[in-house]
């Protein structure tokens, strides 16, 4: 349910921003444009270069903003759960990225060529391939999507747990503990606010990390050999 609310808010913000887009933007539109420009230049063009980056800008922007909106619902008071702290959503995003980078690599190099490109990196003396290829195989086919899922999931879950812990400790120390411990209730209250700010930062950071890793994996799949 929370995820539906997140999607509705996300779409509403962008539809309102895009509906009457003026050439010289007002405040709301320029904030949106800053966000979109950030995704375009700082993530896509920086990692993938201008020519390839243009193709993947929509995907990377979608992933960035969607992950951010799903993360941020975890700190909004009445929607207490982050959409990405349940395992389904990170799996969907990671599978999207996984099939995308595999598909793009295969489209560019052909199946055999892509396997050769990613499993046998050039410029290495051949005995090292015995060690390198299994590691690369695990990396490309198994570990990248798995780590994408676990990173997003565990960050959101751990942050949520810490926040819940702080506020539960505050209520316990204020209302039920003996008098000597009530001062610590104030400490955990302040810590609760500090963790709240940290949560917002981590939501943004994890969205950024997910999208920049998407860009990096795409770049590693379609990079020319040099």
């Amino acid at each position: 349910m929370v995820r539906f609310i997140a999607v509705i808010v996300f779409l509403t913000i962008f539809v309102i921003g895009a509906r009457r887009a003026k050439l010289v933007p007002g405040r709301f539109q320029s904030v949106l444009e800053m966000g979109l420009d950030f995704c375009r230049t700082q993530i896509a063009y920086e990692i993938l270069g201008e020519r390839d980056g243009k193709k993947y800008v929509p995907m990377i922007t979608t992933i960035f903003f969607a992950v951010f909106f799903f993360n941020i619902t975890g700190v909004i008071p009445f929607l207490n759960i982050a959409g990405t702290s349940v395992i389904g959503l990170p799996i969907i995003f990671a599978l999207w990225v996984y099939f995308m980078y595999l598909g793009q690599g295969v489209k560019k190099f052909g199946v055999g060529g892509y396997l050769k490109h990613s499993l046998f990196p050039p410029g290495v003396p051949w005995p090292i391939y015995l060690l390198l290829t299994p590691v690369e195989f695990l990396q490309v086919f198994l570990l990248r999507p798995a780590t994408l899922v676990i990173r997003l999931l565990a960050n959101m879950m751990a942050g949520h747990l810490l926040l819940a812990l702080c506020f539960a400790a505050t209520s316990f120390l204020f209302f039920e503990a003996s008098a000597g411990l009530k001062a610590f209730g104030a400490v955990t209250f302040v810590a609760g606010f500090a963790f709240f700010l940290l949560e917002v930062f981590v939501a943004l950071l994890q969205a950024y990390v997910f999208s920049i890793l998407t860009a990096v994996y795409l770049q590693m799949s379609i990079s020319e050999e040099h």
Binding site: E46, R151, L153, N155, L205, Y208, V209, I212, L213
Partner: protein, 78 residues
Amino acid sequence: MLTAATDATTTINGLALVGYGLAAIGPGIGLGILFGKTIEGMARQPEMSGQLRSTMFIGLAFIEILALLAIATPFFLK
């Protein structure tokens, strides 16, 4: 070996916590080195700081996954 790890029972409670504490040493050192080197690089050559910051975030993701695997392991290894 993995099944042996999950079948093993122990009479010491809280061993999982000790395990997590040990698992946090490596990523802690790694993150410290990463951020230290990034700050040093930014101090030596401020015009590269944008690119250094980008690469730092990528490195951060890979190192933190090791620490987060320690948190997430109890949930998928029963």
